[in-house]
Each structure stands twice: as C-alpha cells, then as structure tokens.
Amino acid sequence: MDALITAAGRALSAGDPLGALNRVALRDDAPALALRGIAMAQLGDFTRARLLLQRASRAFGAREETARARCIVAEAEIALASRDLGWPTKRLDSARATLEAHGDLTNAAHARSLVARRLLLLGRLGQAEHALAQLEPSALPPALGAVHALTVAGIALRRLHTETARAALERAERSARLAGVPALLAEVESACLALNAPAARLVSHGQEHLLQLHEVEALLQSKALVIDACRHAVRDGDAVVSLATRPVLFALARLLGEAWPADVSRDALIARAFRTRFADDSHRIRLRVELGRLRAALAPLAGVRATPRGYLLEPGAASEVAVLARPIEGKHGEVLALLSDGEPWSSSALAMALGASQRNTQRALEALADAGKVQSFGRGRARRWIAPSVPGFTTTLLLPGPLPGA
C-alpha cells in the first residue's frame, strides 16, 4: 500500500537488509522506522535496531495496534538474539493476543516461537515443548517452519534424542531452502555441526576415544554403568545417582571407573582425589571414610570392594563400565557451552540460563577470561561475553510481517 515500504519489506524477507535500507533510509515515518529497525537487527546492530523499533512503536497512531504489536515482537526477537533473557515476556504475550485478535496469525506464530526459543535457552525444556505444541508446523510459512524445526531439534539435542533432532534438522533445512534466507541455512548448518561434532570422550578399559551425540545416547541406553563426568552422575539405564554436589566422591568414582576392571591403589586415589602428593595416615583414614560414603551412594548401582593394594568398582547388573568425559576438559564447561552459540551474553542472562548465582557466574567468567577462553566488551550493565574461538552464527531475524494492508 506504500510502494517503498512494500519494496523494502520484499528485500528484507529475501534476506537483503541493505537493499531494504536503501529504500527507506531517509524516511522517518513509522513503517519506515520499523523496517529500518529490522534491517539494522539483521545487520547485527541490536542497540540501534531496538531504538528504531521503539521510535516506530511510538510513531504509529493509537489506532494502529497491530503495527505496534509487530514492533514489540521484533523487539523481543532482538532481545533474544542479544541474549537479553530478562525481557518482559508479558508484553510479548499481549502483543501476540493483539495479533491473533486482528487475524495476523503469522506474526502471532512468530511471537509463540520466540517464547519457545527463550525457554529452550533457559533450559526449561518441558515449557518450551508446551509453547511449541501451540503451533501447527504445517500452517507456518517456510522461514517460521525452519525456526520451529530448529527449536524442536534444540530440545531433542538437549534431551539426547538424536534421531528426533536429526529428523527435525532435515525439516529445518528443507524449510530454510524454501524460504531462501541464507542466515537460516547457516543456523541449520551449525546445528548439524553440533549434532555431528565430537560431544564427549569415552574412557573404558584404559582406552579413550571421542563419541558423537548419537553414540552417547546409545551408551546411556546400553547395559553399561556410566560414570558421567559431563553431568557428574553415575547412571545405569534409568537409575541415576547424582554426585554433582559431592566432587570428592565423584572424583573417586571416576578414578575407579577409568581403571575398571582393574583396581586403583590407595596412593593413587589419595593423590588424585585429594590433590596431594603426600599420603599419610590421616589421608588413609579420610579415604576410608569417603569410600564408605561412595559405597553408600552407589549402593543401588554398584559396589566398591577393598583389594590388597586399593579399591575396585564392582558394577551390579551392568556388564561394562565406561567413563563419559567432556571432549575438552577444563573448568566452567557449562558456561562455555552456552557461549558456544557465538552470541554475546550478559552475565545475568548466563546466570539465568545456568540456574547459578550472579556472583558465581561472574567468577566463572573472570576465570575463563584469565585463561583466554572468553572475552567481554562493554561496561557495567551493557557488558557482554563471547567465546571467541567459536565461529559466530546469526540468529535470524524475520520480517515482522506485512505492514497494515501492504
């Protein structure tokens, strides 16, 4: 209904933000501000994008409720892309309700998928699934269909349902090709890399090799007793003993698991679990106490037997023992895992996603920064953290939809 806005919208949905900017760069009316905001977001300038969308939202008239709602959805997407997870979700909910009431089902669906993606980032998988269940994938336009499938894949990956994830990624790729948006294809590609890249290290019978996710899934479903150093737990099928809050017990379990079916000497256990090179009587007594605790904790799954020189792990029903370790070990792996999405995170968003305190998250970030594994930019509340070793990928910003009647 407005030639330049229509043309700019066409350029944006084809993934050509510069083409869109060319057409509306000099205009300051509400739809032009909104389109400029989305174009800047696609170009990665989230701060400018947010300001432009807020100006657009104010510039739309009181009667232009749907246009305002679309601006709010776009702002929420920018918040998600810039990992501003504390963004007020109530505003997004009411914008979605407005869009539904006015028949703009595409943007309403977009709002729902943003909710699901935020919950996925926060690791609230059940709630994310619930949000996705409100959407009918076959009714979505290709770009939104790709985002939907990517979110399904993300949830499945976190649940270690690799077949489901693979199928969802194939759907995502088909939809992304249909949509013709390069940034979406790049996102599918990097999700595929995550599916196929080494996810963990298996230590068994004194040997180790790298495992892909589907091999991890198979291992967890097998009859092996798994000492899971990724999540600090011991598993046998569905039975899980978490030792996440008991690091010394876990260290002992891991040492016994790595040596199995052989035993481990008392001195080796003391040296590595207590981190001391000198073993005296008090250490031996402490070892006996800790092993008693470990025996009690592992009782449903395995036994721990004393041998002449040390201790031996005795799996119960399981016929195998395997230690599952992170592919690259080091502290604060969970922080690095979140940062591996290549996006700049605030420490408060990281703390939210980790379920950790601000202070602990801050400490972890500082330690990682000292080790050169993460970098930060900005000051105070605007400070953001990135993991520079990971190639960045774009969170796709979709066109918040046709402007009224356009």
């Binding site: 209904m1 407005d2 030639a3 330049l4 806005i5 229509t6 043309a7 066409r10 057409r23 205009r27 009316d29 509400a30 739809p31 008239g61 009667r63 232009e64 409720e65 749907t66 246009a67 006015h102 028949g103 046709p402 009224p404 009647g405 356009a406």
Partner: protein
C-alpha cells in the same frame, strides 16, 4: 455527507502465487492486480487469472486507455499491456506512494500516511496540485467526474467520494470490519474493484447511483 455500508457483489481469490494485492486497475476487459513482482490480468466475471507481466509492482496501478502505469519503488513505470515492455519511467514524488489513477490527462497518486492525493504530469512526474484527505489514502479512482479513494487504518476501511477542490468528503461506503481496501478502480459503470491487501483478494463493490 452520505454514509452507508458498502454492498459487496463478489469476492475472488486469493489467487495462487499472489500473496498481497497492492494495486488494481481495469482495461475494459481485465482487472489487473499488482502483486509485488507481477501484474496479473483477472477476468472480473469469473475471477480466473488470464496472464501476467513480470515487473516490480509495489503499489498503485492505472490504465489510460492504452498503457498500464505502475508504481514501483520510487518510480512510475509506463507499460505496454500486450508485450509487457516498459516504455518509459518517471520519478514518483518522495513519500509513501500508494494508489494510482488516470483521468483528464493526468495521473492521480495517493500518498498513504501523508493523507494526500497528488495530480501529477504523466510525462515529467511534476506535481500539478494536491488534495488533502483526513484518512490514510490507499487506492484512487475517477468515475464520471467523481473522485473516489480508499482508506485503511487498522481494522477500519472505506471508500469515499471527495470534492476534488476542497477535499470535503461527500459520500462514504464503509467496508465490513477487517476488510481493507488496498487498491481501487471503477469499471466506469456500476462496479468498484477493490484490492484486499494481504488477504490476496479482489472484491467487487456496487457503486451507488
């Protein structure tokens, strides 16, 4: 002012491959719909698509008896309907150009948010005069010396006849709620053809006599 509900005669579409209707015109036989990257000829009696011309078609469309005029980005294209060739282009006035009509040797161009209709020289693109409306202007058409334009703000849309000199609203046909008018053309007699924006529809409204 005479205000009444628009009487809907027919509704066609949405048509395959046409997401949004941005402009509408009538060449005596076919209704032409501008749908972003194409102009599509539709039979107004059956609603059947006939043929199409590949061209940027972002907003209003008009017909001068021989040629089609099409607003594309910041220009107005003059197109030969038989071949689809672009014969010439003129610059469109800056701003949010929407509807287009032909009458009395001039082009009439609606500007959506500016609530204006410009009379422009079809050879140079120069603005000859400007009529102000008080609503967002979408389609524009002339019939029997009457100037009509469509309006569309949020859920509200209507067709209104205005005094071409003063801009005063003389008659108003209100569209049902949620039914927008993105392009407007008359068949010179009883019918108005209205583009339905993102609904992708073509609607026929009775012109009151």
């Amino acid at each position: 002012m005479n205000r009444s509900a628009a009487e809907l005669l027919e509704e066609f579409g949405p048509f395959p491959g046409m997401d949004s209707v941005h402009g509408v015109t009538y060449d005596g036989r076919h209704v032409w719909l501008a749908t972003g990257d194409r102009l599509n000829a539709i039979d107004p009696d059956t609603g059947e698509p006939q043929r199409s011309i590949e061209t940027a078609a972002d907003a209003g469309t008009a017909f001068d008896g021989r040629h089609l005029f099409q607003v594309a980005e910041d220009r107005i294209l003059k197109i030969e309907p038989a071949s689809g060739h672009i014969l010439s282009t003129i610059p469109a006035p800056p701003g949010g150009n929407s509807g287009l009509a032909w009458a009395e040797g001039s082009l009439w161009l609606g500007q959506y948010r500016d609530r204006k209709i410009h009379q422009i020289d079809p050879d140079s693109g120069a603005i000859l005069r400007t009529i102000e409306s008080n609503r967002f202007v979408t389609g524009v058409t002339w019939v029997d010396g009457e100037l009509w334009h469509g309006t569309w703000e949020e859920d509200g849309s209507d067709l209104r006849r205005i005094d071409p000199d003063s801009g005063e609203v003389l008659q108003q046909l209100e569209m049902p709620q949620g039914m927008g008018v993105s392009g407007l053309e008359s068949d010179g007699a009883e019918r108005f053809f209205c583009g339905g924006g993102a609904s992708g529809k073509l609607r026929v409204v009775r012109r009151p006599r």
